[in-house]
Amino acid sequence: MKNTVYSIAGFNVEIKDNFGGIKSFGKKYISPDKNADFSVSVTKADIIREKELCTSECSAAYLERAAACRKLANLLPEKDCMLIHGSVIDVNGIGTVFTAPSGTGKTTHTLLWKKLLGEKLTVINGDKPILRFTKDGIYAYGTPWCGKEGFSENKYTRLKNLCLIKRSDTNRVYPLSRDEAVSVLLNEMFIPEDPYIFSKSLELADRIVSECSLYTVECNTDIEAAKISHSAIYGGKENL
C-alpha cells in the first residue's frame, strides 16, 4: 500500500494505491512535496459501488481510478473547486471548455482545433478537468482522469469561455443563454453526494455563468468547424 502525494489542481493530494490503479497517473502528477493538503483512499466498498455503476466489465485498477476521482470530486467544492465533464484547451493563456454529453464529439472538435492551431494550442485535459475558483478568476486544471485520447497536462489555464458542443451538418456559433448554460452545467458538472456540498457547487456554477463567455458551437467534422469556432471565440487573433 504505497502512498504517493500527487499535485492535482494546485493541491498536494495523497492518494493511496490499494488496488494498483493509481500508479498509472504517471510522473507528471507526482508532487515533489511530501506534505499532503488532504488524502484520498479507495476502499473495497468503494470498488464494489463503482462496479455497480460501471456498464462494462472493468478491472479493479480501473475501478480504483474511477472511485478515487469520485472521492476527490466530492471534496472539491469545499475547496472552491469542481470537477466538470469536458475538454479544456488553452490558446495564449486563455482557456475554453468544450462540454457536451458523452459521444457528441468534444474530442473530435478538440482534435480539429489542434490540427488548426498546432503548437499554439495546449489540450489541458480531454475529459475531466478541475475548475478552481479564486478571487482573480476561474482556472481550469488538467487531471490524470483524461479520457481515452490521453490528453492530460499538469497545467492550468485561465478559463474564459464555456462552449456547448452540438453535432450539426453545418458550422455555426451563437450565444448560449444563461438559462441553458445552467442546464448544461447541471448535466456536465460533478454532482456531489452531500446536498450541502452540492449547493456549494451551485455557487461555483453561478460564477461560471457570470464570468465566462457562453457559446453554442454547432459543428461538423471538417476543419472548417474549428476555423469558424476559433474565429468566433478567440476573434481570429491567432496567425494561422
Binding site: R178, D179, V182, F198, L202, D206
Partner: protein
C-alpha cells in the same frame, strides 16, 4: 398540499435549483424559473392551489388567468415528479 421532502434552494444565474436533503428522494435536484421558485417556496408549508394563485397575484403584475395557468402548470410538473403530498 405540500412538498414531501426538504430542499435547499439555490439561485444559479437567473435560474433556481432545489437540492433535496432527503436521501430517499428520487430526484436529487429540480431546476425552475423565478415564478417556479416562488410557488416552490410556498409548497414548503401546507397550502392550497387557491392560496398559491392569490399570493402570485399579489407578488406579480399578472392577470388571474395567467396566474392560474402558471400555478397549474407548475403543480402538474412537481406532482408528476412525485414530490407532493396531498394529505398533510
Amino acid at each position: 398540499m405540500k412538498l414531501k421532502y426538504n430542499y435547499l434552494t439555490n439561485k444559479v444565474a437567473d435560474s433556481f435549483v432545489a437540492v433535496s436533503t432527503d436521501k430517499i428522494c428520487e430526484h436529487k435536484f429540480i431546476k425552475f424559473n423565478e415564478t417556479g421558485a416562488f410557488i416552490f417556496e410556498m409548497l414548503k408549508s401546507d397550502v392550497t392551489e387557491d392560496e398559491i394563485i392569490s399570493a402570485l397575484l399579489k407578488e406579480y403584475e399578472i392577470d388571474n388567468e395567467t396566474a392560474k395557468d402558471s400555478v397549474r402548470t407548475f403543480l402538474k410538473y412537481v406532482s408528476d415528479l412525485g414530490i407532493i403530498q396531498y394529505e398533510c
